[in-house]
């Protein structure tokens, strides 16, 4: 199987093609069997491939299938590779993807364009797999752009809704802005290494003992890493390019779960992790990554506090969680970042799916203010969602706890070796973000499932979703619980499997190097305790505000009106972009470039010349007065001209005079 790794991505592509071309005429059953079949099959293939990979016991599997682009000394092969990092990603993508496919069959059952949906979804799987399996930046970029495309398609799935198509367009374009950086990053890397293959670059002899202009604080590498990180920001919705993700919620919920929570948006993290060697040599870039990640985590969390659209809350929480992952990478804890990526995939997918099930139950209602007290009506959804919430809020022993914990720990540790207080600051903000997360997540739970119902019982008949939807919920719930244990830190007993597992890629656990094991354990314990406390505070506040004294919430909102509205309007960032970038650009293009520069000046000049020439012609025409006497005078003029020229022209026929004399 490993030799035929290309089958793994190909299967979804086939599924997509088949559905896209013929699905239109088929009943849903066949369509979704094709879709699920192809993804499931590719999941199995992936598993098989992984097994073979471990059996072969090689550190890195790399296979060159064919030359895709080749010009001069540049060659981009269709090369796939597999190492531990890839394994994690592939399994997450195919696994979670598969579950969500199953879920979607239920969720989309009554939607039009069923075949389109699954065709797109499979297409996404294909590109995502390309992305994670690629063995060079160019091929990775294929997946990178491809997932962008499929997210564009899926967000705009309800293309009759303007908001939907807008959101899709926005997503694609913002991603393009990121890609602008990513491409430049690739160009720069090629300029430095004359290749874009991961192995060739990472094992490049020059990486050790870099000349200063390459690594160092402002070296080539720094710029390369920053440019690549720009791409990552676009894809993973980090500041300042996060704006598209909340809007992306226009897409069907399974899409939000799969693309905008579990997989695609983590591509940025993946790329950073993938190029960790470069980042290691670019301290400045690392710092930037950490800061951006941390800032995003906190910033998005604050917005999440006040959102009332259930999916928007989750969206911002996603942004914030992604921030966490970057934070981890920024401080060099790549394994922790990937770990959080994995667990987040589980519980955030779960959250979205559950939310989807809620929306399904409410018949499309998304506003939490019109929900409440659903816990009795849709028990399974409630239970699973609660688990997910606990996980994301970081309560032990749920998955989120471990991952978030290790990130915070690594932030804290990153202080060592740095004189400044950067590490502590990062940690502080991370912690705050964690607290906020706990708060808004429980706010969501309480508003949705507890308290008394705020919707019209007669209109909406709340009903539990079919098992095709609940099944995946349960599976994911289980994963959100146990998912974290693979990385149970030492003081929980059990070695940190996950880190060791990724060790061949990222190297050992940072804390172990930085200080003695014993001290490490104490520190971990204390930090864990602090984190959990923070989570509890968040939970408590949420409980107090939204269950105990609901009226207080409004009071608070009123008393802090400016803050509240600012948060509600997401700091007016969209408006800002519109004002500062979009509208001016359009205005200039229309009124300056097109109407003035193009039509008036350039074309005006051209037509002007033509017009002037015609006018001149008319002038010439009017010398033809038809009067013989005038003509005679013209002849006289001619005579004068000729005689004058012949006699008085300067240098008239000079050369001959010389010849004669």
């Amino acid at each position: 199987m490993l030799e035929y790794l290309w089958i793994v991505p190909l299967l979804p592509l086939l599924g997509s093609a088949v559905n896209g071309l013929f699905g239109g005429k088929w009943p849903n059953k066949i369509v979704n069997s094709v879709a699920i079949g192809s993804t499931g099959l590719s999941f199995l293939c992936a598993l098989e491939a992984v097994r073979e990979f471990f059996d072969s016991g090689q550190v890195l599997f790399h296979k060159h299938f064919f030359d895709w682009i080749s010009a001069g000394n540049f060659t981009a092969g269709f090369d796939l590779q597999m190492d531990q990092l890839t394994v994690v990603m592939v399994l997450v993508v195919t696994g979670v993807g598969w579950l969500i496919h199953i879920y979607a069959t239920g969720y989309m059952a009554h939607e039009g364009g069923y075949y389109r949906f699954f065709s797109y979804l499979n297409l996404f799987m294909f590109f995502m797999l390309i992305l994670v399996l690629a063995a060079n930046y160019v091929l990775l970029f294929v997946g990178w752009e491809g997932v962008g495309l499929s997210s564009y398609l899926l967000i705009g799935f309800y293309f009759l809704k303007k908001s939907a198509s807008d959101a899709g367009k926005k997503a694609f374009i913002v991603n393009r802005i990121g890609d602008f950086g990513f491409m430049l990053g690739m160009f720069l890397l090629f300029r430095a290494f004359h290749t874009l293959d991961f192995q060739a670059i990472f094992t490049s002899s020059t990486l050790q003992g870099w000349p200063v202009e390459m690594s160092g604080n402002l070296g080539t590498l720094t710029f390369a890493c920053l440019l690549i990180f720009m791409g990552a920001c676009g894809k993973s919705a980090q500041l300042p390019l996060y704006v598209w993700l909340p809007d992306a919620m226009e897409g069907p919920t399974p899409v939000s779960a799969l693309i905008h929570a579990a997989t695609m948006v983590t591509a940025g993290v993946y790329v950073v992790a993938r190029s960790h060697i470069l980042f290691m040599h670019a301290p400045t870039a690392m710092l930037v990554v950490a800061i951006v990640g941390c800032a995003t985590a906190f910033f998005a969390a604050t917005i999440g506090l006040v959102q009332t659209d259930i999916k928007k809350v989750l969206a911002y929480s996603t942004v914030s969680q992604l921030g966490y992952m970057f934070l981890a990478c920024g401080v060099g804890a790549f394994s922790a970042g990937i770990f959080h990526l994995m667990t987040h995939a589980f519980f955030k997918a779960l959250l979205f799916l559950a939310a989807g099930s809620v929306i399904h139950a409410m018949g499309g209602e998304q506003d939490m203010n019109r929900m409440g007290g659903l816990s009795k009506k849709i028990r399974w959804t409630y239970r699973t969602m609660l688990i997910a919430t606990l996980a994301i809020a970081g309560f032990p022993p749920f998955a989120g706890f471990f991952s978030k914990d290790s990130i915070l720990l690594d932030d804290f540790l990153s202080e060592y070796g740095r004189g400044s207080h950067v590490g502590y600051t990062l940690y502080a903000f991370g912690l705050a973000a964690a607290m906020l997360t706990a708060f808004y997540m429980f706010r969501l739970i309480f508003l949705t499932f507890r308290g008394n119902s705020r919707y019209d019982e007669h209109k909406v008949h709340v009903h539990e979703s079919p098992w095709s939807m609940l099944g995946p919920l349960v599976v994911l719930a289980v994963l959100s619980v146990v998912g974290g244990w693979v990385a149970a830190p030492a003081y929980w007993g059990g070695p940190d499997y996950f880190t060791d597992f990724l060790a061949p890629v990222f190297g050992g656990h940072p804390s172990v190097e930085s200080l003695g094991a014993a001290a490490a354990h104490n520190l971990e314990l204390t930090l864990a305790f602090v984190a959990v406390t923070a989570a509890f505070i968040g939970l408590a506040v949420a409980w107090w505000l939204y269950l105990n004294k609901p009226e207080k919430a409004d009071g608070l909102a009123k008393s802090l009106k400016p803050v509240y509205t600012t948060l509600l309007n997401k700091y007016y960032v969209d408006e800002l972009y519109a004002k500062v970038v979009v509208r001016p650009l359009l205005w200039i293009s229309t009124n300056v470039l097109w109407k003035v520069a193009d039509v008036a000046i350039i074309d005006g000049a051209v037509n002007g010349i033509a017009h002037e020439t015609t006018a001149l012609g008319d002038g010439v025409r009017h010398t033809q007065s038809g009067n013989t006497r005038s003509y005679a005078v013209w002849v006289v003029v001619g005579a004068i001209v000729i005689i004058a020229v012949i006699f008085f022209w300067p240098s008239g026929g000079k050369p001959v005079m010389e010849i004669v004399q």
């Binding site: 025409r621 009017h622 033809q624 007065s625 038809g626 009067n627 013989t628 006497r629 005679a632 006289v636």
Partner: protein, 100 residues
């Protein structure tokens, strides 16, 4: 003995007067006459030069010129008659149907 250049200068003057007449007379016949005047100026020049060069061909040319002038006169006057017949005018300025 009269220097040749006197004759030449005289011919130039006559030629110039011919040009002047051509431009400033309105009557077609008179205009045509001014052409004859110019030709006469040329003839004078020819004769003068031939005399100065002591060659006779200059005088031969004069004869040719006279013949040509005669021919032109015949055709020219024919045309003038045609015009006069078609338009009942001999004023050259009234003959400007073709213009622009």
């Amino acid at each position: 003995m009269v220097p040749t250049n006197y004759y030449v200068i005289l011919s130039a003057i006559l030629f110039g007067l011919g040009v002047f007449a051509f431009v400033f007379k309105r009557n077609i016949i008179t205009i045509f006459m001014s052409i004859e005047l110019m030709l006469n100026a040329v003839n004078l020049a020819f004769v003068a030069f031939s005399q100065a060069l002591g060659k006779l061909d200059g005088q031969v040319f004069v004869l040719f010129v006279i013949v040509v002038a005669a021919a032109e006169a015949a055709v020219g006057l024919g045309i003038i008659i045609l015009i006069a017949r078609n338009r009942q005018t001999l004023n050259v300025e009234r003959v400007d149907l073709l213009k622009l």
